[in-house]
């Protein structure tokens, strides 16, 4: 595995916790399995992070590949500029989501994954289309590239802020009539509900610990950074591991470590050392930038700014409102999970969630990182900003960048805005006192 290949590595530069070692090993193992899959005759399913059906896929003995994660990793490894450039040369518009272009560029450059090993071609494209219309196009594109079958799972949007029976029935119907048969076809195995249930039970356990970890940020000082650090914590739940024993162990370990930090009254660990003086507590909305992830984090850490809650860490599932995978209603619970992911919530619900975070996590303010790529996140964020500001009375900040397109990360511009924002909070405090 190359040096900066995984998120795990960045964090361990400062402190090698056991949980991080475990995560690293899990990821390495997964990519090794993927690389070997063609030889060993193992089949793999490409699918998306929000609303991913990892437990179901795993119960068929199939391996998941998540193109979003590959794109993110390409961004972190400094490859995305070339990949995106290549895709644009091939006729993809400058205006559209760079995850897609990054993935297409990677595919056209030999499909070498984050660990330097070649990724297997998909045997099935599971288009679990949750929270983002771009997914649709993405897999239509991949479908043409690989000539692979596509299984469509249309996950209805919570347009009115609720999940209705009709919506649930629709998803379960599709699972039964479309998705499961497709998985059966390519795996050659029959659907095994018991196997699924076992995995769902393990998911619930891991989810319990994950929520505990994320909520530990309610303390002062917060022992974790729930955004920059948070993206590492959600890794195993997001990606290929939910429902595995590895994930259960990872979160148990992580929880123990955080408990240790709390006992010592310590703040979060960053790549540049520990934050000793928590000066600003922030809630962040929107995905981070991956191409300058470390620089981006630094801009916060240097100022003693700690993110105590973030919405991005909920795109792979919102658990802190009580939802857990329920082995007793296997398909229904999968449906509820899919429909409950953050980007599948309507804007009023997103505002409520942010408002709650600002209050429950005693934040000094909240900040939006608006990414050019993602309309699903970004369209409406300016209104979210004003609404949350109005409801909480805490100052909001707004910065713009992109997920993996380095052309849209202007360090000086972001720093300028962040500095002004922090100085504003500071001034407001001084004025208020």
């Amino acid at each position: 595995m190359s040096k900066q290949a995984t998120p795990g590595n960045v964090a361990t530069a400062a402190l090698k916790d056991q949980s991080q070692e475990r995560q690293k090993a899990m990821i390495a193992e997964h990519f090794r399995k993927l690389a070997e899959a063609p030889e060993r005759g193992e089949k793999c399913v490409y699918t998306f992070v929000p609303g991913n059906l990892t437990e179901l896929i795993d119960s068929f003995g199939l391996l998941p590949v998540l193109p979003e994660i590959n794109a993110l990793q390409s961004g972190m490894r400094g490859k995305s500029r070339d990949y995106i450039g290549l895709a644009e040369k091939l006729g993809h518009s400058e205006d559209v989501c760079t995850y897609v272009k990054c993935d297409i560029g990677m595919l056209k450059s030999g499909n070498v994954g984050p660990t330097g090993e070649r990724l297997p071609n998909p045997d099935l494209l599971l288009l679990s289309y949750t929270g983002c219309f771009t997914f649709l196009k993405w897999f239509e594109l991949l479908g043409q590239e690989y000539n692979a079958p596509v299984a469509m799972l249309h996950v209805p949007y919570q347009g009115d802020g609720v999940v209705t029976d009709s919506m649930r029935t629709y998803v379960v119907d599709q699972l039964k009539k479309k998705v499961i048969p497709a998985l059966e076809r390519i795996s050659g195995r029959a659907y095994d509900e018991e196997a699924l249930k076992e995995r769902l039970a393990r998911s619930a356990k891991a989810e319990e610990d994950l929520v505990w970890v994320l909520e530990s940020a309610k303390r002062r000082p917060s022992p974790i950074d729930a955004y920059f650090g948070g993206v590492y914590y959600i890794g195993p739940i997001f990606t290929a591991f939910r429902g595995t024993q590895d994930a259960v162990l990872y979160y148990r370990e992580l929880r123990a470590e955080i408990e240790g930090r709390i006992a010592l009254g310590k703040g979060p660990v960053t790549p540049d050392g520990e934050i000793e003086n928590e000066r600003y507590r922030l809630v962040v909305e929107g995905p981070p930038n991956w191409t300058s992830f470390r620089k981006f984090w630094q801009m916060f850490a240097e100022e003693g700014a700690v993110v105590v809650a973030s919405t991005y860490t909920k795109v792979g599932g919102v658990y802190d409102n009580g939802f857990r995978h329920d082995p007793n209603r296997p398909l229904e619970t999968l449906a509820d999970y899919c429909m409950g992911c953050y980007t599948n919530l309507n804007l009023p619900t997103r505002v409520q969630m942010l408002e709650r975070y600002v209050r429950e996590y005693s934040a000094d303010g909240f900040l939006i990182n608006s990414v050019k790529s993602c309309n699903s996140f970004s369209a409406g964020q300016l209104m979210i900003l004003r609404e949350v500001e109005r409801r909480t009375g805490r100052p909001g900040g707004f910065i713009e960048s992109d997920l993996v397109d380095p052309r849209y990360f202007s360090a000086s511009n972001i720093k300028n805005r962040l500095e002004s924002y922090f100085q504003m909070i500071e001034q407001k405090r001084a004025g208020g006192a």
Partner: protein, 438 residues
């Protein structure tokens, strides 16, 4: 005698502004110069100009103290200032001449070029007196613009007569002006110009006051910097403040009732909301596209061969505003030509351009939280009457009656804010003297 002051410097993309504040937080002087590639020099020149301005007001004060009546003071001071500026101009022109000849020599351009240069410079020198006659109008206060436009005109005339090719002459100027404006020596010193100007003005009361003021020592306590080139400002990091905060605080100091501030500078537009204490509560800036900022007007002025301050009045003559949707700065010239060729009138197009700029600003304002009472318009573009007119109209249409503050000194708002921060820093350091910055 000795006066302590703090200075705030706003290094903008177009202009560099300095405000000098005494211990009572009173404005002693303001200075402005065009920004240039040598940031150090830009700051020094702006500060120098502010100190000159400070001394002018001290001279005025002195004369008042000596019992000279207001009418006479105004007259004397105008004469003195013009004479002073004339001296400054001559000194810069001399530096420019040297530089031009050096470049011509280096490029081995030959005798014809030298002759052409002398024709141009000779004329310019001759005209200097007229340029600074009482009541004469000037295109700009910056040497670069003043000398530049005249030089180009004269070069064009020479080219028309077949005396010398145009492009190389302009090329020489572009090189020489860079050198001239990046040297602090070229402007000369206050004292030497003042002494000459004092003699030129030839009035005993004035001479007494000038001599007196020349003996006053102005002592800088601290300087705080802000502005576009903030990452590279010649100030220690601790003494740099964000532009947003400076504009907020500056506007508050000028108009304590201000709640919303709009600043349109050369390359950026900022909409800022402040509370009753001048504390910024939210702000918005234009993103990575500079469309619709002040520089846009600069291009237009160049294209029409007008001075910046002539744009507004010309647009003011329009009775039919043309709709313009694109404000890409670089396309400004092309858009203008296209519209002209479609038969639209210059003033109507100009009115449309101004409205387009303000429309963009309205979006940012809306984004930052709307327009509250009172509303202050700052930055260079606030000097443009047509921009102000368009703003008034749109504010009224969309937000109803709002008190709109505009000061002739609005371009100094950021620098004023910075100078206030400088005094705050002085007080802070006095409170905890251990933390003196390096």
């Amino acid at each position: 005698m000795k006066i302590d002051y703090c200075v705030g410097i706003d290094l903008g993309s177009t202009t560099t502004k300095a405000v000098v504040l005494d211990g009572e937080r009173r404005i002693l002087g303001r200075g402005i110069t065009n920004s240039r590639s040598n940031y150090d020099v830009a700051c020094k020149v702006a500060l120098g100009e502010a100190l000159i301005n400070a001394r002018f007001s001290l001279i005025d004060g002195r004369m008042e103290h000596d019992g000279v009546d207001a009418e006479r003071r105004r007259e004397l001071l105008t004469r003195f200032e013009l004479a002073f500026r004339e001296q400054q101009y001559r000194s810069q022109l001399a530096a420019l001449r040297t530089s031009l000849h050096q470049h011509a020599e280096r490029l081995a351009m030959g005798a014809a070029t030298n002759a052409a240069l002398e024709r141009i410079l000779g004329t310019m020198e001759q005209e200097t007196g007229e340029l600074y006659r009482v009541g004469a109008s000037r295109k700009s206060d910056f040497f670069r613009d003043l000398a530049g436009s005249r030089y180009v005109e004269l070069a064009e005339a020479i080219a028309r007569d077949g005396g010398h090719a145009f492009d190389p002459l302009v090329g020489l100027f572009d090189k020489a002006i860079l050198e001239t404006e990046n040297s602090t020596e070229a402007v000369g010193t206050f004292e030497s110009h003042a002494r000459k100007a004092m003699v030129q003005a030839g009035d005993p009361a004035l001479q007494r006051a000038v001599t007196k003021v020349l003996s006053i020592e102005l002592v800088q306590r601290l300087g705080v910097g802000t502005g576009y080139g903030r990452q590279r400002l010649p100030f220690p990091e601790k003494l740099i403040r964000s532009e947003i905060l400076c504009h907020g605080l500056g506007a508050h100091a000028m108009f304590p009732g201000t709640r919303t501030v709009l600043d349109i500078g050369g390359q950026d537009t900022k909409a800022i909301q402040v509370d009753a204490n001048g504390i910024v509560t939210s702000f918005q800036m234009n993103d990575r596209c500079a469309a619709g900022c002040g520089r846009y007007l600069g291009y237009i002025a160049d294209e029409m061969n007008l001075g910046l301050h002539e744009l507004g009045p010309m647009a003011g003559k329009s009775c039919r505003t043309v709709r313009i949707n694109s404000t890409c700065t670089v396309f400004a010239g092309a858009e203008l030509r296209e519209r002209l060729s479609l038969g639209e009138k210059r003033e109507d197009i100009l009115a449309g351009l101004h409205r387009a700029i303000i429309l963009r600003a309205m979006s940012l304002l809306a984004r930052s939280g709307g327009i509250e009472d009172e509303f202050t318009f700052t930055g260079g573009v606030a000097r443009n009457t047509e921009a102000v007119k368009a703003l008034r109209l749109l504010v009224k249409e969309n937000y109803g009656e709002r008190k709109l503050n505009i000061s002739p000194d609005s371009i100094y708002t950021g620098a004023l804010g910075a100078s206030l921060f400088a005094w705050r820093e002085v007080s802070r350091q006095e409170a905890e003297p251990v933390e003196v910055p390096a």
